[in-house]
Symmetry: C4
Subunit: 231 residues, 4 copies
């Protein structure tokens, strides 16, 4: 199981490279083994082209390394906070992908402008508030996680599997790390479309609720009709 999680985390990291979401050592992906309370995460600052599944770092739920000789990603504590707060998620992905990061830097939520968005996110992709100086200076990464968790208050993490950290970049999650990487790719596309939408029409409005629901529930939940019934 740990072996297959390492491979899945490794593959999710590479997917981010292949899809153009990360350059150099940017970005990180992790997965959790709930039964054992173990997190498998990309090591910090290792080049993607040299990385192997064996380089993935294993930590406990506090982010303490329990296996591996490399340091975990510097965003470890954010991942750990999300796993503790959202028991339904199995993977977390963080990137600085260009378009989603532009919205994070603009400190604007991404409105649900269309069905591409609604097929994956059941409402706007929210943005956190800026952290306070105290939150930044002590426990920054854990406090980034807390800011995301506060922003998600009242929302279903699987129906809104992404948040923009203000002035920073997106964090995505899903039932698996493969899903989380998939959502990160779609989020980047949705962010690009939304940017162009507001340029073309600064008064653009969100999709009507009924259409948002129709698209979201075509792909998610008990009444989903998309796909072949097995995904």
């Amino acid at each position: 199981m740990l072996q297959s999680l390492r491979t899945e985390v490794y593959e999710a990291n590479l997917e981010l490279v292949r899809r153009g979401l990360v350059i150099y050592t940017f970005g990180n992906a992790s997965a959790i083994w709930r039964e054992k309370g173990l997190i498998v995460i990309k090591p910090s600052g290792v080049a993607y082209e040299k990385m192997t599944p064996a380089d993935m770092v294993v930590t406990d739920l506090q982010g303490k390394v329990v296996e591996g000789t490399l340091r975990p990603s510097s965003d470890m504590a954010t991942h750990a906070a999300l796993y503790r707060a959202f028991p339904e998620i199995g993977g977390v992905v963080h990137t600085h992908s260009r378009h989603a990061t532009a919205w994070a830097q603009a400190v604007r939520e991404i409105p649900c402008f269309g069905t591409t968005h609604a097929d994956y996110f059941h409402g706007p992709v929210p943005v956190t508030s800026h952290l306070t100086r105290e939150e930044i200076e002590e426990g920054y990464e854990a406090n980034t996680g807390e800011a995301i968790i506060r922003t998600m208050s009242g929302l279903d993490p699987l129906a809104c599997p992404a948040v923009l950290a203000a002035g920073h970049a997106p964090f995505c999650w899903g039932k698996t790390v493969t899903d989380a990487a998939h959502y990160a790719v779609v989020l980047e596309e949705v962010a690009a479309m939304a940017w162009q939408t507001v340029t073309i029409n600064p008064a653009a409005r969100a999709l009507p609720d009924a259409q948002r629901d129709k698209h979201y529930f075509r792909k998610h939940g008990a009444k989903a009709t998309y796909g072949q019934g097995d995904c």
Copy 2:
């Protein structure tokens, strides 16, 4: 014939991938065999890299599967509605390509700003109105087709082979599915140029009618002079 249609539909779907118009399982293409009243369409949610011509689904004009074990694309009913309304078309393509989708999300028609546009579309690419809650909740995909058909009222489907579904994305068509995919690619390019045009000059105006006509009829109709007389 059914065999060659399957291959043509398969190839049109792959063309959308190659040209960067779709990611993951986004998008779908179909063709119709008019004499038999059969539609050949991409299956729902199957990865492009695993898809084969044999996976294409065959339905009747109501979208009922008559051959194949996979579910047809979730937009089946939209395709079927377009085939019933426009007897002159042989293929339909739907994508969420970035630039055209941004115009659909902005709920703005794409003005005919230049000759690239006029070479293919004899006027603006129109946008539908939003569907009502009732139209969304019951028969959404068929009603999307009806909204497109209403928007095309009074227009020649072959001279205006694309419509933007409001808040959703483009639908394109043509005499063949190969043509429909070609128009989808050109529409994406035209949408990108139009976005930049309105950024550079918010007061940009449509091409003079005479120039629009000159370009359109250089490539289309009895007096066309473009190409080698056989395409």
Copy 3:
């Protein structure tokens, strides 16, 4: 000579594909053999992947085919007009490249905002006026050439080797067709930068004249210092 011109024209056409300036059968390049009064040009509507040097069409200075079985590019008469008006040029390239076309559609000249521009174009890249209905309906392609020539009045064609045809797209030229294709690629880059420049700063101003001159004459004319003295 004709053989080598065919190859050079063919290669210039392929360069436009490789650099992403054209899709499908868009765009065309030509060269002239001044001594014989012969123009070598891409055939109309032939797929780039099937084209060979032997497919290039040879015409006289009026655009009448003198060798080859294919029709010349539909923009033949524009090329011919430019060759007749500018005796110093040896090649012409026309594309619908995205960014330059957006400026043409916006009917705005591209200001000389920076040294990238000034390294190649000694001043703004001008835009023509729209043609009149009469000019469009009779002899459209030749009149497009005339509009470009009027716009170039008082300018040195080799110091301003590109014009935007209003509502249409750029035409570029140079001493050779290889140069013309090179300028088309640089124009596209310059157009992209200028679009972003006016988005970032709507009040952006042209480069000071002295800096424009410094850069232009570092690369052009008797006092050029760029390169290795042989290009």
Copy 4:
């Protein structure tokens, strides 16, 4: 040592090509051998695909060629000025990369809008003033260096390893030419994000100082925690 510097400079130049920062013969990279007072720099106007490490030109700190038969980059004097002014740097890179150049043309500094920026640049990326006519006409390249040096007054060159030359393009530097090329790539990404940020939110504000410091010092200086402790 000279041999390995040639290779490193050659590789840094190729990195700019691979990352899409330069086309044709645009851009140049150099490194310095402090002990001997020798600069190794790309030759002027040589095609990247034909260049070899042996083509790199060796000059003294005034830019006078001491080894090699090719002319150095036309921006030689700017590189030399930067090496003389900033003893802590070992490499310089100059590109006309699209997004950073757009900011230079807009004559706007790139605000520190987010953590991607703060991971590399400890504050805004500044822009020089335009040179005077006199500075342009005599000793343009050296005066470009002087303008950059004036702009850097009071700043630590390693904490702000890039400046935009007004109306021109970025210059980057670092402890090594490999670092300088790396910063040029990141600057281009940061410039793209900042352009989109101001489009999405014209009132976007810089990252809070505490968060800027947190990110910058996670990767730089004695208390850095990013990576594996050896980079």
